[in-house]
């Protein structure tokens, strides 16, 4: 990275907020995906929208590529930059700018940590619904870029359903305001288009989110099943009643064992083939009636036992186990390949069998923890990077699992994004024509393709597509 550029960046944000020594860069060399490591050329940490604007403007003039970064918890390598690239970390922009309890809106900077937003509005009886399991660390800006989901998205929708307005610094350094505070888009739905664009359309510098009332009553049920198939079928049966639980999460035996062996032990039965966590929320009378219906279905579908969280603390413990499951798995082997795929709900029972078959054939250890209600799977493979043969088998198994999910009519990612990790899978579900359309849309926002270069769209797989006006 040129010393002149480093100096100019320092002039904008202050020299102490520019990091370029190798030791300083280590923190930024990876995100949540352990298999991709790359040191950025320099890291710049702006404190305000206007500093972001100036930095991006400078990079525009210099023709330099850049990558935005929130907390770096992403699981697809999205926030990782190469040595020619400037990493723009948004972690200092962590202020909640405005809360409007009447309209149920909040305006936040991109570096605000997801869980902190809900904590801040809790005294008003409100919360920010999307609750990725990483919520204690990940940022709202990163959530917007990935269109993050979470357990409670079954009933309430994912990030895109909770964002109404965005302030965006485009790669040429200009600023646009997308959407409106009310929710009705202003023109075409560019907020919807932007959410999930993985940092390739520009940098979000302010976000207006919807807040929702905290439900009056919550009931959390823990059911344990003798087979994964029975648990999967129970999920479909619940959905078929028309009851929409707030969350429906499944963990298999391997996952339960990992959680119970960790400091997050939640009291899940370790001898169950699968446990299902079902949460219902709403008014007390409705929650009461619906829980009884759900309990009956779970039993009918073969649950050995169904217990209800006895207190808020008990509920928190049940959820803690679920939310820390990745971390718990991370402790049982040096490395963990976290997978993310979606299948139509009705395919769940068969897919779970197929995954078990792939696991056995390759002699691997897979723990399943997933958003069962949405059909969003996370079959996670524990391994050791030091064993090349094992690494190879993990790689092949990941491909096979993904192929099975795609063949069932599913998608290659439900919430972790494509990043650099899943580029190869994109042509499995999108035609060259569609991939080219995606690239062309990216070039509308970023004609020179300098924002998060090389991610999401496998350029070689795109059909020739007329470049957008202004791109030349």
């Amino acid at each position: 990275m040129s010393p002149a550029l480093i100096e100019e960046l320092g002039r904008i944000v202050g020299p102490r907020w520019v990091r370029h020594r190798r030791a300083e860069l280590k923190t930024y060399a990876m995100d949540g995906l352990p298999t991709r490591e790359s040191y950025p050329g320099v890291v710049v940490i702006p404190a305000s929208s206007s500093e972001v604007r100036e930095v991006v403007r400078l990079l525009h003039l210099a023709g330099a590529p850049f990558v935005a970064r929130g907390a770096g918890t992403g699981l697809s390598g999205g926030a990782v930059a190469d040595p020619e690239t400037v990493l723009i970390a948004l972690t200092r922009m962590n202020r909640i700018l405005h809360v409007d309890p009447v309209r149920r809106r909040a305006v936040v900077q991109p570096g605000v940590v997801n869980a902190r937003l809900s904590e801040a509005v809790a005294p008003l009886g409100l919360h920010y619904v999307p609750d990725p399991s990483s919520q204690a660390a990940c940022t709202v800006g990163g959530n917007v870029a990935e269109n993050a989901g979470g357990p409670h998205c079954l009933k309430y929708g994912v990030t895109t359903n909770h964002i109404v307005q965005l302030e965006v610094v485009l790669p040429d350094g200009s600023t646009v305001e997308l959407g409106s505070p009310h929710g009705e888009p202003w023109g075409p739905d560019l907020v919807g288009l932007f959410v999930g664009s993985e940092g390739m359309f520009g940098i979000v510098t302010a976000i207006t989110v919807r807040l929702e009332p905290v439900p009056a009553s919550v009931r959390t049920l823990l059911a344990d099943f003798p087979t994964v198939r029975a648990a999967s079928e129970a999920v479909s049966s619940v959905i078929a009643t028309g009851i929409v639980p707030a969350a429906m999460e499944m963990m298999d035996r391997a996952c339960v064992a990992a959680v119970e062996a960790s400091i997050y032990a939640a009291g899940y039965p370790t001898d169950a083939a699968a446990v299902l966590l079902v949460e219902l929320d709403g008014q007390p009378d409705a929650v009461e009636a619906e829980s009884e219906t759900v309990r009956a279905i779970l039993c009918e579908r073969g649950a050995r036992s169904v217990r209800s969280a006895s207190s808020a603390a008990d509920r928190a413990r049940l959820w803690q186990g679920r939310k820390k499951a990745f971390g718990a798995m991370g402790r049982i082997a040096p490395d963990l390949a976290v997978q993310d795929a979606v299948v139509p709900r009705s395919a769940l029972p068969d897919i779970m069998d197929r995954i078990a078959e792939i696991r056995d054939r390759h002699g691997l250890s897979i723990s399943n923890v997933f958003h069962a209600g949405d059909g969003n799977l996370h079959p996670n493979i524990s391994f050791d990077r030091g064993d090349p043969d094992l690494v190879h088998r993990v790689h092949v198994a990941c491909h096979e699992i993904m192929a099975v999910c795609v063949a069932a009519g599913g998608s290659i990612t439900g919430e972790h994004g494509v990043g650099s990790d899943k580029l190869d899978y994109m042509p499995w579900i999108f035609s060259p024509e569609t991939l080219a359309a995606m690239r062309a849309v990216r070039r509308v926002f970023d004609p020179a393709e300098r924002a998060n270069p090389g991610k999401v769209v496998p350029v070689h797989a795109c059909r020739e597509w007329r470049a957008a006006r202004g791109a030349q």
Partner: protein, 404 residues
């Protein structure tokens, strides 16, 4: 010219695939996404302008075009998967036919857009017109999981997928929902279904507007989960006074509980509608927007509703108006000059309220644009997006206002 166009279309689609509209304009009626894309490619190569029609029930024939493309023959419900709560439906499928087909399987699509029952699913997606159910089930975008689109130059692009949760690639579906056909013609869509609710109860209260808007805010902030919360002007409700309607859908327990809790809210005399009148009541609301040639929607939340209605009443008239104070939308139907509409849009913009022209004769659409002007910098993005999806500018859609 018209004969040339007609001949070329016939060569492409066969004689059953082409007709002439009342004014003699050739109308292509492709019956597959591939045929649709061929028509677009031909038009693109020849530089012909296309008028997109769903069932063509309203676009006046004055839109300058060389041909019309109707999605009328794209009317198949391709698949319904109750277990996955997903259906794949061609864009020309009339909503009413879809509703019946889904009901056979115990399913429904939680959208109640204005217009006639035979309006096409594609037109609902393209215009992003939701109805009162937006309060409980979200705007149109929340119901569309993916779609197949023919671009203005005849490429077929598939967006999203058939699963409820999906972040593979950019979310191009969002551009098609509410794009008014400016970014392509929707051929097919994957939609999100719900199980038919067991209980469906509507309660209404009558009174002066300001009392009802206040009450609506109480309902919105009470711990109730209505499927719809809609304020209706006297003309729209065909009543002497304003009407506030609340609809609860769901399981018996949830609906009964909500009805009980509603009673004291807002200090109003809530009157439950008899079950056999519920459908008729909401049908009236849906058809109400046919009472004038122009329909607008404005994005505005609860505390701004009263002011905005004042603004409309002052610059236009109170007319056929409905407002969802919780969902953040006001819809107005009536008649007005371009100048007045422009003034309303300007006044709304000053309050950070976007105004979308949902329907109007071509002259009005042309002058005002569905969206009008954008915020700074956004117009360039929209222009480049249109150029990407319709490089030959074949799709005759007025998103922006014509230069004054």
């Amino acid at each position: 010219m018209s004969d040339v166009v007609h001949g070329r279309l016939r060569a492409l689609l066969g004689s059953a695939g082409v007709e002439r509209d009342q004014a003699g304009l050739p109308r292509a009626i492709p019956d597959s996404a591939d045929a649709l894309s061929l028509v677009c490619r031909l038009a693109h190569e020849e530089g012909w302008k296309i008028r997109v029609e769903g069932h063509g029930t309203w676009l006046p024939a004055d839109a300058p075009a060389d041909l019309a493309v109707s999605t009328r023959a794209l009317d198949q419900v391709v698949s319904v998967s109750p277990a996955d709560l997903v259906a794949t439906v061609q864009a020309g499928t009339p909503l009413e036919a879809l509703r019946r087909r889904l009901a056979d399987e115990g399913m429904w699509l939680a959208l109640d857009p204005p217009g006639r029952p035979e309006r096409s699913l594609g037109s609902v997606i393209a215009t992003a017109t939701s109805g009162p159910l937006r309060h409980g089930f979200g705007p149109v975008r929340d119901h569309v999981l993916g779609c197949t689109v023919a671009t203005g130059d005849g490429r077929l692009v598939t967006t999203g997928g058939r699963v409820v949760k999906n972040v593979a690639g950019y979310d191009l579906t969002k551009l098609q929902v509410g794009g008014f056909g400016g970014f392509g013609i929707v051929a097919e869509a994957h939609i999100r279904l719900r199980a038919l609710p067991r209980a469906d109860i509507t309660l209404i209260a009558r009174g002066p507007r300001d009392a009802l808007t206040l009450a609506a805010r109480d309902v919105a902030s009470a711990e109730l989960v209505p499927a719809a919360l809609e304020l209706l002007s006297p003309a729209l409700a065909a009543e002497a006074d304003w009407v506030l309607a609340v609809r609860f859908l769901g399981t018996d327990a949830a609906v009964q509980g909500d009805v009980r809790r509603l009673a004291p809210v807002g200090n109003l005399a809530w009157q439950p509608l008899p079950a056999d009148r519920t459908a008729a009541f909401w049908g009236l609301v849906a058809r109400g927007s046919q009472g004038g040639p122009i329909t607008l929607r404005l994005g505005v939340l609860g505390d701004g509703v009263d002011d905005t209605i004042d603004l409309l009443a002052h610059d236009l008239d109170e007319g056929l108006l409905s407002a969802g104070p919780g969902a953040g939308m006001i819809r107005w139907t009536g008649d007005a000059t371009v100048e007045r509409l422009r003034a309303v849009r300007r006044a709304a913009a000053a309050r950070e309220i976007p105004m979308t022209l949902e329907r109007a004769p071509w002259a009005v659409r042309r002058a005002l644009g569905h969206f009008g002007a954008y915020r700074e910098g956004v117009g360039q993005l929209v222009g480049r997006l249109r150029d990407t999806f319709d490089p030959g500018q074949c799709l005759q859609v007025a998103l922006e206002a014509a230069a004054e």
